[in-house]
Symmetry: C2
Subunit: 658 residues, 2 copies
């Protein structure tokens, strides 16, 4: 057997050729995509590439406890590197993004510490935030209960104020109120911020936040009255590195000042002081969705990079060396739109971060005009983005054929870990109702309408589509996306007027959410392409924008259903769509290179930068412990003999010389 055959050599040649023929400079596009985090990203990558513990390959062969152990080592190394390299906040974030793996401390930073900072008094911040920062305590955020996820008001854990001792008694009334799914709680946390119904003198004041010690930071034993543990493995092997946990509280007493009191307060005498305004707390929820939306782009970009590379080097059917599968239209039609969507999310999330920062400044001075709009935008983009991204990742996996199902494809892990984002921080179906309500309010409001939703009142003019040129006109594109969404909103208004209840129109809300989100993304992409106009980047961004628009025009049933597009126009659209796909396919390797992922970040045999997918698969397989671990082999062979040598088979085998 010779390893240097024609096929293997051709793989590296193919991917390199595709790279050389780029219509733009790959590094320029990488800078454009990363924007002001480019330098932080470069620095983080340089540091991380040489850290052995950040190599995720060995995770493939570890069991759950071993994966958790490995992620704790990663968490520790992250902390050390922050100190060793005096990383800025942005650089540390870039390093965390580089690693792109949950660990039991993830929510310590993103939820426990941030909620104390946002909702604690200055004294509380000093008391809890400082030790949290030096990791003398590790915390989690305990909201969800066994039977309550979406419905926060329905939470049943109780915080009963005991006036005599000036304490709260934290109690779980029954099994359905057990805290559940809490990241960091299962094995690691010493403290939790617990959402519980505040009760004073038999009167309930709704859910409030309390800091509850869970395990001793000295010996790590659970504290009296607390039953705590890990809720077990998750679907698809996802979240294996996170210790999602449960907790049951049996009359656990905490001091009065463990209630986070920046807004609502309970005095020593048991008097409830209602918050003047608590809108600042909404900022945190919006932020989580903004982050998830950006993450949807990151994950999809990785999957698209791997799949583009493998489909460029994989050949099947056709003459001589066979045809690279990326030349098949079924592969192009699945993959190229996903590249445009990943770009769309990168570009739109930058805009969304901008809106969020503006909102934060408003909230800091006690104002909240743009809250409804930023809330609706973040809901729409979160639900659309997570769904599109997870469906897209799995479509990428399928497009890689048989080897896509190997763990070494690297794509399955992304789906496994990201797919719950469809449910957490607001189930997508629940969020879509909020988006629809917002748009409906804009439609019927007498007051000024938010700019991102102004189109619902617009009388959009649509000319018949007769040519490709029309379809590439940004004004035509925007008009089509506006018209579809506005018509869906108006249909919803009619249905509600006709007496349907909100719960009967949740599918319609879903369609509206998607139409609105796609309008927002198209809008951001069009702007970005126009900004970069006279450069080669501007040209390819324009083509990506066209692809994004044409993909949805050609494949989304709501354009037809709202008569925004007619079946006859659809034929023209599909022709233009097909041509745009071909134009992007030529740049597919450079466009995915431009996301800037290293081989180590992708952790994929199939998506190697140098195209040597099959050699990488071979190397990966050699590390499989089932092939060389003596104990495992001996046990398995014994079981094989239990079958093969049963009864008189052994003498039969010897006699018949099998």
């Amino acid at each position: 057997m010779t390893d240097n055959n024609l096929y293997l050599k051709q793989m590296s040649i193919d991917v390199e050729k595709a790279r050389q023929s780029a219509s733009f400079r790959i590094q320029d596009m990488n800078k454009l995509l990363l924007n002001n985090s480019y330098d932080a990203n470069q620095k983080a990558k340089k540091i991380a590439e040489s850290e052995p513990v950040f190599d995720k390959f060995p995770m493939h062969f570890k069991n759950r406890a071993e994966q958790l152990a490995h992620s704790l080592k990663m968490a520790k190394r992250l902390i050390e590197l922050e100190e060793e390299h005096h990383l800025s906040q942005q650089e540390f974030s870039a390093l965390v993004l580089y690693v792109d793996m949950l660990n039991p401390l993830s929510l310590h930073y993103s939820a426990f510490m941030s909620v104390i900072q946002a909702q604690g008094t200055p004294e509380q911040i000093k008391k809890w935030y400082d030790p949290a920062k030096r990791l003398a305590i590790i915390g989690c955020y305990a909201q969800t209960e066994l039977s309550h996820g979406s419905n926060v008001a329905g939470l049943k854990t109780v915080a009963l104020f005991d006036e005599k001792t000036e304490e709260f008694i934290i109690h779980t009334p029954d099994l359905t109120a057990a805290k559940w799914w809490i990241g960091g709680l299962g094995v690691v946390s010493t403290h939790a911020v617990v959402q519980a119904q505040l009760v004073i003198a038999n009167k309930s004041y709704g859910p409030h936040l309390f800091i509850v010690p869970i395990r001793s930071p000295i010996d790590h034993k659970p504290l009296p009255g607390i039953t705590v543990g890990d809720i077990g493995p998750k679907a698809y092997g996802g979240f294996a590195t996170m210790d999602n946990g449960f907790a049951i509280f049996d009359h656990v007493r905490i001091p009065r000042d463990n209630m986070l009191m920046k807004f609502a307060q309970v005095t020593r005498q048991g008097k409830y002081v209602a918050p003047v305004h608590d809108k600042l707390s909404y900022g945190g929820m919006v932020k989580l969705r903004v982050d998830i939306f950006a993450d949807a782009g990151l994950k999809l970009a990785k999957a698209a990079t791997i799949t583009t590379r493998y489909c460029t080097v994989r050949r099947q059917f056709g003459p001589n060396l066979e045809t690279p599968v990326i030349e098949y239209s079924s592969v192009q039609h699945r993959l190229m739109p996903l590249i445009s969507i990943a770009y769309g999310i990168y570009i739109t999330s930058k805009d969304l971060y901008g809106q969020f920062e503006a909102l934060t400044k408003q909230l800091e001075i006690g104002e909240a005009q743009s809250l409804p709009e930023v809330h609706a935008t973040s809901c729409a983009l979160k639900s659309w983005g997570t769904r599109r991204s997870t469906d897209g990742i799995e479509e990428c996996r399928k497009a890689m054929g048989g080897h896509g199902y190997s763990i070494f494809s690297g794509v399955a892990d992304m789906f496994a870990t990201f797919v719950p984002s469809n449910t957490y921080e607001g189930d997508n179906y629940v969020l879509s109702q909020q988006v629809a309500r917002f748009l409906l309010k804009q439609l019927t409001s007498q007051k000024q309408v938010y700019s991102t939703a102004a189109y619902v009142k617009e009388d959009v003019k649509l000319l018949p589509i007769k040519s490709h040129e029309q379809l590439l006109d940004p004004n035509v594109q925007l008009a089509l996306f506006k018209a579809r969404s506005a018509r869906l909103v108006r249909q919803l208004a009619q249905q509600l007027q006709a007496g349907l209840s909100w719960s009967e129109v949740s599918v319609e809300c879903w369609d509206i959410n998607f139409a609105h989100a796609e309008y927002l993304v198209a809008h951001s992409m069009i702007q970005k392409a126009q900004q970069a106009k006279p450069t080669p980047l501007g040209d390819v961004l324009k083509r990506l924008t066209d692809l994004f628009c044409l993909h949805h025009l050609a494949t989304s049933a709501t354009f037809l259903a709202t008569s925004t597009v007619s079946p006859l126009e659809l034929i023209t659209i599909k022709q233009a769509y097909h041509q745009t796909i071909l134009s992007i396919a030529k740049d597919a390797i450079p466009l995915t290179d431009a996301f800037g992922f290293s081989d180590r970040q992708l952790n994929s045999a199939l998506g190697r930068y140098d195209g040597r997918a099959y050699e990488a698969l071979w190397e990966a397989v050699q590390k499989n412990p089932i092939n060389h671990d003596e104990a495992q082999r001996a046990q398995l062979t014994k079981l094989v003999f239990d079958i093969l040598h049963r009864r008189d088979n052994l003498s039969y085998i010897q006699a018949s010389k099998l």
Copy 2:
């Protein structure tokens, strides 16, 4: 904490109430669905329920090698039970279906033994089939190579005839030709049927089948010249119980009569005798797809059963005890159509088995008239069914909210194990091209057209849809499905005439495949409902058929795109769709009960027959080893201390009394 609270009690009441209000007898429906395998199924279930090794729950906590070991124990017990209970072929199949878990011997039966039987001479059958039956040898079927899946003609493993020794030399010319993905080969098999290019005196005769000994059945060591092993973990933790393997052959010599010679032959002198006809071999390929289609129904039925039960007992929002989530239209719109699709697959697969049996009889007498039709039908249904089923299973998982992401939901395993069916035994996109080619041929053929495809030439009359009644008329339903598919086929013909190549129309082929498959399923369902007409079963089958039709009419873009349905008609369709969903929702629990799965088969905390989902989740979590395995806990706690007690944190903790 009291476990006997109102909410928990209500869960059992809710599910039982839904069961009591069934519009039909559940057992009658179970008999109808299982048809002539009902008795075998009952017997298998009775045997299996008391076998400890068939309890799949402990698998959740096992690593890869342990899962493989467990599945070997299952395989052994299956063999023993077959003997102990003198099971018929049908009963044994029912038992294997009950277990519903791949093991390293699965392909020994379904591929190795069956290919020897189908393609071996009587002497070869005696020599190999008999020891295989008593498991003195264990075999696999080695076709796929590292770089060749779909393209069988492109396989590169060589079988060179050596006239001097009357042997074949099996050789892997380079890494890309390594056998890969072969189920049963990684750890267990002693023998393989190997697809290799037959070469005699420098002339190649294309791929043929050879029996190659891999490991000694005595000491289980790999034989000289053979490099063999397991290819490692698969995506989503799927196929963990299967030892998919690789093999590289270095000039391995086998006797001439190890080539399966029922059709093609190589004489001692090295003369190649071409097969008179080899159509019998197609039967095997068709059979695999028929089985996969039926399996798509089984898996989707399980997921739908679990989800229906959990959504009936899960409450969220609303007054007092909150509203069962199954009453939300977003849940109903996702779940009810999936129930109708599962029924559609059950019913249609019975028809497909009938067609396959008729084909088998034809082939046995050397005829093959219906081969093209049965081939096309099986391709269309396999690709449609696997895609719909896997998408549906994941949609079920999402519809269960947060807990759907727990391994204890039981649904994720189904997706993980079944999703590769989209790729194996013919990648769905490749198969859809064959379906489109078949239909196109019917359109242009002068000869008689196959009955399942006759509609492509029909001049289907469509009257404007103005009422619900029209939409419930089976003739109208069939006309709509026929018209859509026929129009898509005619559009394709035009595109090809206009000069597009087949690789440019693969998305169109995909649409045609789906339209044709949905017509076939609608057709089977309509027939079945009419057969059962005057009974309560007939009534609910009619409603399920209506739902199947209306779901696709309301949600599939191709009805609009082909102008089979207008946007105005769509409004009427959606109203009728909504009403039909409500009517099925009332019977959702009995309809899924009627699939007849035991709790053990479902292996789901959420889908328990008695509705006690939360108590079951609690019990499951208590068995999680991370919560009680001392060694695991000690290791993890040490790593937590590495973070918590770093630097002077321990004294800081003690000083600040955290």
